[in-house]
Amino acid sequence: MKPRKITLEVNGRVRSATAEPRLTLLDFLRYALNLTGTHMGCEHGVCGACTVMFDGLAVRSCLIYAVQADGHDVTTVEGLCNGDGTPGPIQEAFQDAHGLQCGYCTPGMLISAQALLQSTPDPSDDEIREALGGNLCRCTGYAQIIDAVRLAAVSFQGAGG
């Protein structure tokens, strides 16, 4: 099938590019837009390494075709940074709690945590687990990730949500 031109908003910027219909949103972000923060772990929807925000919801970019994102709004880990490229609040919390090791699952974790805190600024432990349940981490055993999300929740509330 022929490549199609698509236009979408990524991290607040309108981007246009052509995409083959079989190209996943994951590969489109990584290789067409050079947003390499989003990672590939399984390409079958289990690991969550490819998680991005799609119209405000955390979704797996390996399960969406790029052409399906035409006209939609996508946020990747790069979009969580402040305007000057410095780490945003949730990224600061992950550093403070060392909620990571190799960093490979981290972009997906950050997106899932961000999506949680946007809808639930003061989550319970169960809500945190629920929100991270689709993101596998092989390094940390999750404890420091949970700590990081708790810490981020505090700073989100401090910043007025």
């Binding site: 880990v77 990571l100 490979y104 991270l132 092989r138 940390t140 055993g141 404890a143």
Partner: protein, 799 residues
């Protein structure tokens, strides 16, 4: 050098951010998948659908003709131009190559590779290749593989036994004779692995202009460049491995030598960069990255007081079709074959078998985790048989803190420890009596509930002497690590290390130790990873060695650098070194603090003023230190006794679990750990390492298995079939620490990358068996899958 365990540490043991984290949280890490130079060609591989089959013919014509395809390569072509892949044991007739030649030996083995303009085109081309196979019966069960009439995986080898060795240390026969009691059991460690979320990947770029093969890879393997050079038949100084790649988790298994040789060959052939990134199916089915798969038959001799006097262990390990360095995982546990216990003698028979499964790689702990599971099962069984509390049996058998250094029967001296103290801290943390009450309460409510207990020793610091025990041709007695420190003309400090990192925080380690020694803020110290051609004599971040070895190298380099600083200061102040004092980079006259040279002044002199540099000292300001593994370095004696690893960390684990009697589902209600890894360099890194290892160990114990059908088909090719534990399965693990410094390391540190993984499978197995005990049932096969427990409960229900 700082005193081990000294309490006035400024940076070491203090909470501080991990240097590496900033780039990872902002999505600016650089993993191998992010390295895609212009003109890169992409590789896809065609797997064998059969576990054992002769390859009769391969028709490439249609694939070659596809638009965008650059090369299609068979095993025969590759074999013509490359040497077989290096392996650990001396097995000239077990030939391992990236692509099968003449015969496929497991379902998933790579048969043909395509390089194309995109990975999609490469995958399309695979569909156009026609291979004619002659399928043959496969051998899957390692015990059946040992029988006379079993089909042979490598007929030229003449047997499916790759290695068989017997070791006897101490008076085993006498100890069994004299024992009040004996028991025998079988324990089985299932085929699993640490499976990082990032699959293995490599980008190889042959540069004709420099005659170099540039490699970016998600690798964690000693002597990677040497192995590439050997297999591609090019000089070692033509291979340049870029160690500044961030590796997305490794835990032992990132050993993609076959991928690299294939990509390197294709890059040279095409004159273009070539990228091979495993997809998940290729990774699980044909990455040659499975871990130990082990059957233990163990006999235990013990007194009526529960003192274990001797062990007879037979370990059969299924290395799959291509063993690589896998079989050495039977030898490494010899370094702690008696665990933390005072066991007088040991008989150990180690057997490595080849079957029609994907090959084996080293996994976190390098064989120690299965062995520890077996040992702890033995201790629980002794307690149960005698009706003595499991904790008490451990206390009675533990080496005492006043007995170190303590030499075990196989010849290794343990450096230090206080196992009794760690256990007591754990019981406090877990509120052990309360935990038992909770368990009993849950039992009275109809649940099956169990408290597990396991301890483990974590040999750390590496030392490859175990190789010699299995293969005397491997006379390798060093396993060094190096660090270079450079100070620039502005006084800025940059440290160079020679390997890549996979989340262990090596940059933080080096900066913290240099900061401590040179009295600078670690935040301001830059740490970089040299390419292999520009690099240092280093190996790899394996064997829980980096805190000890890279830490020791950094501390040594700091001392050498400081010595130069002092000499320049002495020369310019006209005061002997003994009259000087170093503080935060400034050098003072002890007698008169007004007389001093600042760090900036000294750096300026070193870089610019040869007339102010003492004779015999070269200009510039830098130092390299190569650190050798402390102790050891000797070959085994005539009893096969040898000092293996130098340092021994210790952990004790207690989980509380429940089993749903209807479904067999295990829920981990709580999990507690006390551990002692000597001086902690960075508390957050250590905690993460410990808990992360536990999570993987829980996976081993309950969920993870590379399963094959009896006729050899691989049925764990996705994450829906090979189940990694999520945040729902892993409880919030609570950890407490104890510190017995190692006398052998720069600051008393020991390794801590593996202990969680060594202890958790044993602890969960112990808990499950505690839960099953009231029903008179037991289970010693990992993983203890829900279906297995349910079957056991229904089939063996005695109520």
């Amino acid at each position: 050098m700082s005193e081990p365990g000294r309490s006035n540490l400024v940076h070491i043991s203090r909470k501080r951010r991990v240097k590496e984290d900033k780039r990872f949280v902002s999505g600016t890490g650089c993993y191998v998948q992010d390295v895609v130079p212009a003109g890169t060609k992409h590789v896809a591989v065609l797997p064998s659908p059969y576990p054992r089959a002769r390859i009769l013919s391969i028709d490439l014509e249609r694939a070659v003709a596809l638009d965008g395809v650059n090369a299609v390569v068979t095993g025969e072509e590759l074999a013509e131009h490359t040497a077989p892949l290096p392996q650990g044991l001396n097995l000239p007739n077990v030939v391992w190559r990236p692509l099968a030649v003449g015969m496929a030996r497991y379902a998933g083995e790579w048969v043909v590779a395509v390089a194309a303009d995109s990975v999609h085109i490469a995958e399309d081309a695979l569909d156009l290749i026609e291979v004619e196979y002659d399928p043959l019966p496969a051998i899957i069960d390692p015990e059946l593989a040992m029988s006379e009439d079993a089909p042979l995986v490598h007929p030229e080898h003449g047997s499916n036994i790759l290695y068989s060795g017997v070791f006897t240390w101490g008076p085993v026969a006498e100890d069994f004779e004299a024992a009040d009691h004996q028991l025998t059991f079988r324990a089985r460690w299932g085929r699993s692995s640490t499976v990082p979320i990032e699959t293995f990947g490599v980008l190889a770029a042959w540069r004709e202009g420099t005659d170099t093969l540039e490699i970016w890879a998600s690798i964690q393997m000693p002597k990677y460049a040497e192995q590439i050079a050997h297999a591609l038949r090019i000089p070692l100084n033509s291979v340049n491995v870029h160690n500044d790649v961030d590796v997305g988790g490794a835990y032992g298994v990132k050993r993609g030598i076959k991928h690299t040789v294939l990509a390197g060959y294709l890059s040279r052939k095409l004159g273009a960069p070539v990228r091979l990134i495993e997809d998940r199916l290729v990774n699980l089915a044909g990455g040659d990255a499975h871990g130990p798969d082990r059957i233990f038959d163990t006999e235990v001799a013990f007194t009526k007081e529960g003192i274990i006097t001797s062990l007879k262990i037979r370990a059969i390990d299924d290395a799959g079709a291509y063993p690589g360095r896998g079989p050495y995982q039977l030898a490494k546990p010899i370094t702690a074959i008696t665990g933390p216990y005072r066991i007088n003698s040991v008989h150990y028979e180690a057997i490595s078998i080849t079957t029609n499964k994907t090959g084996q790689v080293p996994v976190r702990g390098f064989g120690q985790a299965p062995t520890n599971f077996m040992l702890e099962t033995a201790v629980d069984k002794v307690a149960m048989q005698l009706g003595i509390d499991r904790l008490e049996v451990r206390r009675r058998n533990f080496i005492r803190s006043d007995e170190f250094p303590y030499t075990i029967p196989s010849g290794t001296a343990y450096d230090s420890g206080d196992y009794h103290a760690v256990l007591e801290k754990l019981l406090d943390l877990a509120d052990y009596d309360g935990l038992i009450q909770t368990r009993d309460q849950r039992r009275s409510e109809g649940m099956l509930a169990g408290v597990g207990i396991a301890t483990c020793l974590e040999p750390s610091g590496g030392n490859t002497m175990f190789e010699y025990l299995m293969n005397p041709a491997a006379e390798i007695t060093t396993f060094m690590e190096a660090c270079q420190v450079r100070v620039d003309a502005q006084g800025g400090i940059t440290a160079i290390m020679g390997t890549s990192g996979a989340g262990q925080g090596h940059e933080t380690l080096v900066a913290t130790i240099l900061g401590e020694e040179l009295e600078f803020d670690p935040e301001d110290i830059r740490v970089i990873h040299a390419d292999s051609l520009a690099g240092l004599p280093t190996l790899a971040p394996v064997a829980s060695r980096m805190a000890i070895m890279l830490g020791g190298a950094a501390a040594g380099a700091a001392q050498k650098l400081k010595d130069r600083v002092m000499r320049i200061a002495a020369h310019n102040l006209g005061i002997p070194i003994t009259g000087l004092e170093y503080s935060g980079g400034t050098v003072f006259d002890r007698a008169d603090h007004a007389r001093k040279l600042s760090w900036q002044e000294i750096c300026f002199i070193a870089h610019n003023q040869i007339h102010k540099i003492p004779e015999g000292l070269e200009p510039g300001l830098q130092a390299i230190h190569v650190f050798q593994v402390p102790g050891g370095g000797q070959l085994p004696d005539d009893q096969n006794r040898v000092q293996l690893y130098p340092c021994f960390a210790f952990q004790a684990h207690i989980p509380l679990i429940e089993i749903d009697p209807g479904t067999g589902k295990v829920t981990i209600v709580a999990y507690f750990i006390a551990h002692d890894c000597g001086t902690i360099i960075n508390p957050d890194i250590v905690r993460g390492m410990v808990i992360g290892g536990v999570a993987q160990g829980i996976g081993v114990a309950l969920y993870e298995k590379f399963a094959y059908t009896p006729d050899g088909q691989f049925i764990s090719g996705t994450f829906a079939d090979y189940v990694l534990p999520s945040v729902f399965e892993i409880p919030y693990v609570q950890v407490t620490e104890h510190c017995t410094p190692s006398p052998l390391t720069s600051h008393g540190q020991k390794g801590t990358g593996e202990g969680g993984y060594l202890g958790a499978p044993a602890a969960i197995a112990s808990a499950v068996n505690d839960a099953l005990a009231p029903r008179g049932l037991s289970l010693h096969e990992l993983p203890m899958a829900m279906a297995d427990i349910e079957e056991l409960l229904n089939g063996g229900d005695s109520i």
